[in-house]
């Protein structure tokens, strides 16, 4: 105690000693400022230069003298407008980067949700996949994914207007041009521009969100070597092609200007581009892998295989919901587009109604317990569904979209488990695939016509069926959803089949029963902890 108090007094003493020169300096500054102003008439040129005083309230910090000018303190009109433009792009770029950082953190959320919903004997393997998908996906996106997706997108409107991404491979059908893939920016070569780099970061973390979705649906039986090959291909081939069609100037984005279908396939932040792509890869991969040992009985009825950590899954869900404030509002690529507040509110409303609907549906309608795992799925389902329409719908629209997604995710999870008999340990297909599609269709129904003037080169705002926009926007959304299922379904089927032929997708039954941690990764996730085999083994009802 004596020791502690003496340390405390020494610290206080040190603080006093170090603060004395600061106080002295402040006083000296005040004096010299006075000295300069009184001396000013003697040197006329110095009249324009204001001496910056300490500004504790912050009211007067940032003024004319902060504008870059040939003659400091007296900027010309041109210099002022340059500064305004620079500031606008700076706000946009900063917004894009910071929201991108939030989306990057969603990788931690996915890791926790997926690992919490799987068994203790597989945690090192599930976590390892969630860690490595980030670098593997990024490498693929850097090598060619970014070039394929954005190589032909044209000028970066909100990020400085650089027009170097100008090379799209197109084909002509029915006298119209169909953009298929971009062809500029491989290894980020030839596009050395701050705006492009900001775009790369933001789009890279989006791609990694897609990439990490199948690791949940395919968990507890996927061979690590097969996963690594998938990880390199998802960011370089599977994801960017569909992404180009919607966001990179490809044919789905021009359905409006070419065929008068609304504004083309509109997907604000990625219900189809990101989530549905992940969900379709997940259902194809889980189907090819087959169910986990013990999931289905001889009579084809399913068994419950409880996850090992509800707390981990709930924390992961909150990390994802937090990251979504980057995902959706960030997709303006512009902090100066003040629609961001509407987008953020719509995003949180849908997450709330999604979770609420899911728990009530399990509890009252289905007659089960309220079910924490379905609450998590419900919240994520609401977030996935609002991702496409978040910028185009009213608060009421967002609440309804979330409400429907909460019911949809449960019914879809049961349908996939009990009718299709595809084993998805974490509900990734129901959350991302089914609700990704629902989000796009909801946009075609509920876009309220207050935003999106000129979207995809079509004049007027984005309007859905229920707001007098007719069915053309809805048709464009359905075409986009169908194209996603067909393209992603086929390419991922081919890739998984080829990997299977080459090295095999699935671990041996012995490895699966023992748990993947030691045979696949060399170390148990919970080293030194005795696992209870009875809580790991499902019993039929």
């Amino acid at each position: 105690m004596k020791k502690l108090s003496s340390i405390f007094f020494i610290l206080i003493g040190l603080f006093l000693i170090t603060s004395i020169p600061v106080l002295a300096e402040e006083a000296a500054q005040g004096q010299s400022a006075v000295a300069v102003t009184t001396a000013a008439p003697a040197i006329p040129a110095a009249q324009d230069v204001k001496i910056r005083l300490a500004d504790p309230s912050g009211i007067s910090t940032g003024n004319t003298s902060d504008i870059t000018a040939a003659k400091p303190g007296s900027p010309t009109t041109g210099e002022i407008t340059d500064a305004i433009g620079h500031n606008k792009i700076a706000i946009n770029l900063m917004w894009t980067l910071i929201t991108g950082f939030l989306v990057m953190f969603m990788q931690a959320g996915f890791a926790m949700v997926e690992t919490g919903f799987t068994r203790a004997k597989n945690v090192a393997h599930t976590m390892a996949m969630n860690l490595m998908i980030y670098p593997l996906g990024m490498i693929g996106f850097y090598v060619c994914g970014f070039a394929i997706m954005f190589g032909g997108m044209g000028a970066l409107g909100t990020l400085g207007g650089y027009a170097g991404l100008d090379s799209e491979f197109t084909i002509s059908l029915f006298g119209k041009t169909f953009g298929l893939i971009g062809t500029k920016g491989f290894f980020l070569n030839g596009v050395y521009d701050v705006g492009v780099f900001g775009l790369f970061l933001f789009q890279m973390v989006f791609m990694d969100t897609t990439a990490t979705i199948p690791t949940g649906a395919m968990a507890e039986r996927w061979k690590y070597a097969s996963f690594v090959i998938y990880g390199l291909l998802v960011g370089s081939v599977i994801y960017p092609v569909f992404g180009n069609w919607v966001w990179g100037g490809g044919w789905l984005s021009t359905l409006g200007s070419n065929f008068g279908l609304g504004h083309g396939h509109v997907d604000f932040a990625g219900s189809s581009v990101v989530h549905m792509t992940g969900g379709v890869i997940a259902i194809v991969g889980a189907k090819i892998l087959g169910a986990r040992i013990g999931k289905y009985n001889a009579d084809k009825s399913p068994n419950a295989i409880p996850g090992h950590s509800i707390p981990m899954a709930v924390i992961g869900t909150f990390i994802l919901a937090f990251g979504w404030f980057g995902f959706n509002p960030g997709s303006t690529l512009a902090g100066t587009d003040l629609r961001i507040s509407v987008i953020a509110v719509n995003t949180m409303l849908a997450s709330a109604t999604g979770a609420f609907a899911a728990t009530l549906w399990m509890w009252w309608v289905r007659g089960n317990k309220p079910d924490p795992s379905m609450m998590c799925n419900g919240m994520l389902a609401g977030l996935v569904a609002i991702t496409a329409p978040c910028a185009f719908v009213s608060a009421g629209g967002a609440a309804v979209i979330g409400l429907i997604s909460g019911v949809l995710v449960i019914e879809a999870a049961f349908f996939i488990e009990r009718k299709l008999r595809i084993d998805d340990p974490v509900g990734a297909i129901a959350v991302h695939g089914v609700n990704g599609a629902w989000g796009c269709i909801a946009l075609g129904l509920l876009a309220d016509g207050t935003y999106g003037d000129g979207w995809n080169g079509v004049a007027g705002t984005v309007k859905g069926l229920f707001y007098g926009g007719g069915s053309s926007q809805l048709v464009a959304e359905i075409i986009g959803v169908s194209a996603n299922i067909i393209y992603v379904g086929i390419i991922s089927y081919i890739i998984f089949k080829l990997i299977d032929l080459a090295i095999g997708n699935r671990v041996s039954p012995e490895t699966e029963i023992a748990g993947l941690d030691v045979p696949e990764m060399g170390v148990p996730g919970y080293s030194g902890v005795k696992l209870d085999p009875h809580s790991e083994t499902p019993f039929s009802r």
Binding site: A304, P306, G307, M362, N368, S373, A413, F414, F539
Partner: protein, 112 residues
């Protein structure tokens, strides 16, 4: 000489120990075990499906007592371990041939 073997709820261990101590019996053995009775475990729910946890954690208490004390000790354990709900456990009573105190070589009732 008899051995009383009681299978009880883990959360009742402290109550039973206290009751036995009050009754003057300090010599007991405890083992953490798993098992199920007629109900064959309990059901839980995960993602809308029920599943059975068939082996539940229980505690086995063993006490060796003089023949004259069997009824009293059995009653003591029952009073302390009972909740009236399914899963309270069981008591088994076995004959014991002999007992030896290792330190002194004493045998029979004095050794317990």
């Amino acid at each position: 000489m008899k051995k009383i073997e009681a299978i009880i709820r883990p959360e009742k261990v402290d109550d039973v120990l206290a009751a036995l101590e009050d009754a003057g019996y300090a010599g007991i053995m405890i083992t953490e075990i798993k098992g199920h009775g007629k109900q064959k475990g309990i059901t839980q729910q995960w993602r809308g499906s029920e599943f059975r946890i068939s082996l539940l954690p229980k505690v086995k208490i063993e006490i060796v007592v003089k023949d004259a004390d069997v009824a009293k000790i059995t009653k003591t354990v029952i009073n302390a371990a009972k909740t009236g709900n399914i899963g309270d456990g069981k008591i088994f009573i076995y004959p014991v041939d002999d007992a030896v105190r290792i330190r002194t070589d004493e045998r029979g009732d004095v050794a317990i």
